[in-house]
Symmetry: C2
Subunit: 330 residues, 2 copies
Amino acid sequence: MKMLINVPETVVADALRGIAAAHPELTVDVENRVVVRRDAPVAGKVGLVSGGGSGHEPLHAGFVGPGMLSAACPGEVFTSPVPDQMLRAAAAVDSGAGVLFVVKNYTGDVLNFEMAAELADDEGIQIAQVVVDDDVAVSDSTFTAGRRGTGATLFVEKIAGALADEGAPLERVAAVARRVNGASRSFGVALSAVTTPAKGSPTFDLPTGELELGIGIHGEPGRERRPMMTSGEIADFAVNAVLEDLRPTGPVLALVNGMGATPLLELYGFNAEVHRVLSERGVPVARTLVGNYVTSLDMAGCSVTLCQVDEELLRLWDAPVRTAALRWGG
Amino acid sequence: MKMLINVPETVVADALRGIAAAHPELTVDVENRVVVRRDAPVAGKVGLVSGGGSGHEPLHAGFVGPGMLSAACPGEVFTSPVPDQMLRAAAAVDSGAGVLFVVKNYTGDVLNFEMAAELADDEGIQIAQVVVDDDVAVSDSTFTAGRRGTGATLFVEKIAGALADEGAPLERVAAVARRVNGASRSFGVALSAVTTPAKGSPTFDLPTGELELGIGIHGEPGRERRPMMTSGEIADFAVNAVLEDLRPTGPVLALVNGMGATPLLELYGFNAEVHRVLSERGVPVARTLVGNYVTSLDMAGCSVTLCQVDEELLRLWDAPVRTAALRWGG
């Protein structure tokens, strides 16, 4: 498998140097692997810190900026960052108003953020945490006890980030983050396996002519393999899997997400099918986002995340955001 | 090759339905294949119309909106749109101030836009045209007499779009578009072949362990094949190929573009190497854009486009833009 890299050992550091070169509005500590809003800490504002294994870009560094994350800590590819990174990030963004850790539900991430929270507490930084666990495909999986955290992370970071920018206190920012996670569900599909730089060959074997329903963002196994399906059939399966669990009673935000190697032309076609299913099921869609946001390196495939919103959540979703990957308003 | 599609015949129409569902700020004529700013025609404003074969998304429909294109006409995958689409687009966006056609230099596109210009003239719509031909890899290629039009299209559409939004007359908008094209050069590299929905298998054969230097965005042959190179070696080759031809005497805009299937993590790492080479060559970089903007379906690889800018071009680049794929300011 050919990759656009120097050597596997420097992939994350190289990317951080590239982020620094492209984004003068971010402070990038390449050695310690922390990406911070240049204007942090913002007086009186709750800080938002997230992080996780690399390989899911633009998540999380692409979501650092006004209206969303204050800082991100990238780990090695598909490997949790260490508590020291999270502590550095928290210290860099804490204005005294406290810091919310947004944690995807993978065992390593949960343990390391927990340890970082204790270390931060020792340093007098007030920490709250939200664990994102939106993937309905399987309960318990490789690296995870309970449900995996995937696409809802984007909704949590955007909406909690908007509330933090309004000056809300830590407990309210944490509460809205938990509310968004509770109102969100995801389901993902792989059309091809993923190859990590360290391994250099696909991490699992997906036979020609088959797809995997319910895949995780590290290539963790899903619910089942089937002969290849059409875009419409995949939308039926994925959206119905989400709706069975979410049972929305009002409008939703829809994230139609690419896993990395699926062309945008195909993602938009898939979005048409997602909207068809939602319309058939009587679910109104308030906003739709289509693109590669929570990826799995070079995996082909897609995921659907729905988040039921009320007026407050929709207002916070629409609030201005200025990051590398998500940007609108103001 | 597995694709997220229904059937090859409906790929473009399906994508247009998906664009319509995701972007209420656009008017999408699925049947006639025209995507238009919802507020077009804008009184007194020159219209900007572009188009070309599908498979390069977000180009061009993702660049329709305030500050950039007024309309886009997508053809079949890797196939020019027809003059009727261009004429419809021109008629939809013309406020009486005329319309600029932004044409990538492929024989079919050039001929069809030329014919559309004649038809529009018959209907009393004043048309100017700019042909984008920035790819230094080869002169003459499959589908092209002269140089191919690639990444510079984004710079032309953004900068001319900003000037049009300021109310400049057609001849000035056309002149700045030509100036941007003249100041821009690109070079692309393929790490894997591209598969079109209609063919269903790779359109060319790229052996394991080799890459193609100077590839076109339809998989047209480049300059040469070599054993796989590192990200740093590729940056040296690509940037130097551009600089040999451009010989900039001032700051540049840099587009570090993914061909579709190369992870953003790798693109950012490559961007670090592009900046290293530019720094070694003494070329200051005013702005950098990293991501999948001018793609080739599922091809792995990247391209570098540089555009030398003066104060006016940089001001227009920085001006607010509000499209699906490019969005900042205001």
